[in-house]
Symmetry: C2
Subunit: 319 residues, 2 copies
C-alpha cells in the first residue's frame, strides 16, 4: 500500500487537486472550475466523485488525509472566511464539508502558508526551522515558519506581509487601505510601476504600445531582457521595495532563508538581484551576509504539492 495525501488548491478560477506521496511525487492530478456551483456542497462532491474514480484506477494506494490551500483559509477553524474572490460569501466550514464526504483528517490554510509547508516538506527548506516563503502572484502572500512550525498567530491570520504599509497614502490596495506592499511588489504591482515610470519619464519603451489591461509581468520581464530601460527600472524598483521590507521583516523573525515563489520569481536575476542588494543594504549588522534568498524548490504542481504537504506535516508530527 502506497500512502498518499490529497492536495487541493482552490483558486478564484480553477481548483486543482491530486495525490502526492511523502516524497512529493504527484501520482494523479485534475482540475475543475471553482465557481460552477452555487452550493459549496456540490463543489466538494464534484471533487469527491473525481477522486473516487481515480482511486479505483490507481493500484494499491491509501489516502491518509486531505490538505486544502485556499484564499482566506484559516487553519484553526478549517473555514474559508470572507474570501473576496470566491462566490461563497461569509464563513464557509470547508474542512467539515470535506470530512463529511471523505471521512479523513482535513487541514486547511491559505495558499501562501501551504506553499511554505510545501517548501519545508518537499522543497528547498527541508531541514530548515526558520524561513519565509513569499508568493508573488496577482498579489503578495507570505508564509512564516518559526521553530519548525507554521506561524498562524492568535487567530490563524498571521503572515500577511503583502499588507505591510510601505508608503503612507500610497497606492490604493484592494484591502481598502493605501500603500500596501502588494500594490508595488506583485504581478499587478509591476504593471502599476511600469505605468508610473512611463508617466514620469520620457524614455522610449516598447511598453508604451501596450494597454494596461493587456500588459502582463511576463511581458515586462521579456522587455527587460531585451534591454528596455523602463522595464529594467521597474524591476529595480520592485526589488528595492521588496528588499527593504524583507530587511525589516528579518528584524522580527531572523530567518535562515527567504524563498521567492510564483510567476514573478521566475524572472530570475531581474527580481533576485535588486531584492538581495536592497535586503543586505538595509539589514542590521547582526543579520548581514547570513540570509539566503532562494527560488522556490517546488516546480510543477506547486500548489497541489503545497496543499498536500499540510497532511504530511501533521502526519510526521504524530509519528
Amino acid at each position: 500500500m502506497r500512502e498518499v495525501a490529497l492536495g487541493i488548491d482552490i483558486g478564484g478560477t480553477n481548483t486543482a487537486f491530486g495525490f502526492v506521496d511523502r516524497k512529493g511525487n504527484c501520482l494523479y492530478e485534475d482540475t475543475i472550475v471553482t465557481q460552477t456551483h452555487e452550493d459549496v456542497d456540490l463543489f466538494v462532491k464534484e471533487i469527491y466523485d473525481k477522486v473516487q474514480k481515480s482511486i479505483k484506477k490507481l493500484d494499491d494506494i491509501k489516502l491518509i488525509g486531505i490538505g486544502v490551500g485556499a484564499p482566506n483559509g484559516n487553519f484553526y477553524t478549517g473555514a474559508i472566511e470572507d474570501a473576496p474572490n470566491l462566490r461563497w460569501k461569509g464563513v464557509i466550514p470547508f474542512s467539515d464539508i470535506f470530512k463529511k464526504y471523505f471521512n479523513l483528517p482535513v487541514f486547511l490554510t491559505n495558499d501562501a502558508n501551504a506553499a511554505a509547508i510545501g517548501e519545508m516538506i518537499y522543497g528547498g527548506a527541508k531541514g530548515m526551522k526558520n524561513f519565509i516563503v513569499v508568493t508573488l502572484g496577482t498579489g503578495l502572500g507570505s508564509g512564516f515558519v518559526v521553530n519548525g512550525e507554521l506561524l498562524y498567530g492568535h487567530d490563524g491570520f498571521a503572515g500577511e506581509m503583502g499588507h505591510i504599509i510601505v508608503t503612507p497614502d500610497g497606492r490604493q490596495c484592494a484591502c481598502g487601505r493605501k500603500g500596501c506592499l502588494e500594490t508595488y511588489v506583485s504581478a499587478t504591482g509591476v504593471k502599476r510601476s511600469v505605468y508610473k515610470l512611463l508617466a514620469d519619464n520620457l524614455e522610449e519603451s516598447e511598453l508604451r504600445n501596450i494597454p494596461f489591461n493587456d500588459l502582463t509581468a511576463k511581458m515586462v520581464a521579456d522587455a527587460a531582457n531585451r534591454g528596455d530601460k523602463i522595464a529594467l527600472k521597474t524591476f529595480e524598483h520592485t526589488g528595492r521595495m521588496l528588499g527593504e521590507v524583507l530587511a525589516n521583516t528579518v528584524a522580527i523573525t531572523s530567518p535562515e532563508a527567504i524563498f521567492l515563489f510564483g510567476g514573478l520569481a521566475k524572472s530570475g536575476d531581474l527580481i533576485f538581484k535588486p531584492t538581495k542588494y536592497h535586503l543586505e543594504k538595509n539589514l542590521l549588522n547582526i543579520y548581514k551576509n547570513k540570509i539566503k534568498i532562494l527560488p522556490s524548490g517546488l516546480d510543477d504542481n506547486a500548489a497541489i504539492l503545497g496543499s498536500s504537504a499540510l497532511v504530511w506535516k501533521e502526519h510526521d508530527r504524530k509519528s
Copy 2:
C-alpha cells in the same frame, strides 16, 4: 524545600539578581556594579559569593537554575556577543562561566526576551500563546512569543523591532544606520522629538529651558500632564510612530496582545492612547478590534523576574 530560580539582569551600569519562586515572589535581591572587574570570571564570582551567603541565611530553599537577561544575550549559544555597553568585548561564554561556579542549568537571552518570558510566566500574558512585549527604555527592545515559545529565529537574534527602519534617511541610530524605530520611540527618541518640535514650532514650552543632556522622558511626561503643547505633540508623534509599526508587525505575527514595558510605558494614556489609535487606524481589516494593548503586568523587580522566568519556562516544559 521551596524551589527558586536565580534571576540575573545584567545592565550597562548595574547588575541586579535575586531568588524568585514559581509564583513570582522575589525572596531576596541584591545589586552589584557591572563594570568593576576587567575579568568576567571575577564578575561572576562576585555574584556567586553573594548568592552563597544569602542561601545560607534563607531557610529551606533549593536553587533549581539560573536565568540571565543581558544586552546581546544569545539563547542558543549562551554567550553575550559584542555588547556595545559592556566592557567585555567579543563573544563572552557567560552561561559556561556561570555553570562553572554554580553547577546548575543556565539560560541566557537578551533583556527584552526575558521580559516577554516574564510576562508569560508571572505577568499579564499568562495563558497566552501569541503576544509581543515592547520594552521602552533608552532604546526599544522587543520579545515575540509565538505558538507559546519565544521567537529566537535562526541565529538567536529575532525580535529587534527597534531596528525596523521607519524613515529612510531618518534619524541617526547607534546601530550605524538611519531611521530606526528606536530613534523615535524610546526615552531618547522622545527627547529628540521634543527638540525637533521646538525647532519647527514657535509655541511656548517649559521644555525650552532644559538643555538636551538634562532632559528626561519623565520631564516630558510631566510637562504634558501640565498641558504643555510641545510635550503633548511629542507623545502624539511617538504613539503614532509606534502604532504604525505595530500595525505592520501584526500583519506578520498576528498576536493576541501587545504589552508595553519600561519607563515610557508608565506615562499611561499619554503613550497608550495615540499608540492604540494609530494601531487600529492602520490595521488590515481582519485584525481590527482584536488586539489588546496592555501595560506590563510585572511591577517591581521586573528585570529579575524576567530573567528568572527563563528557568521556570524550561522547567515547566520538562514537567
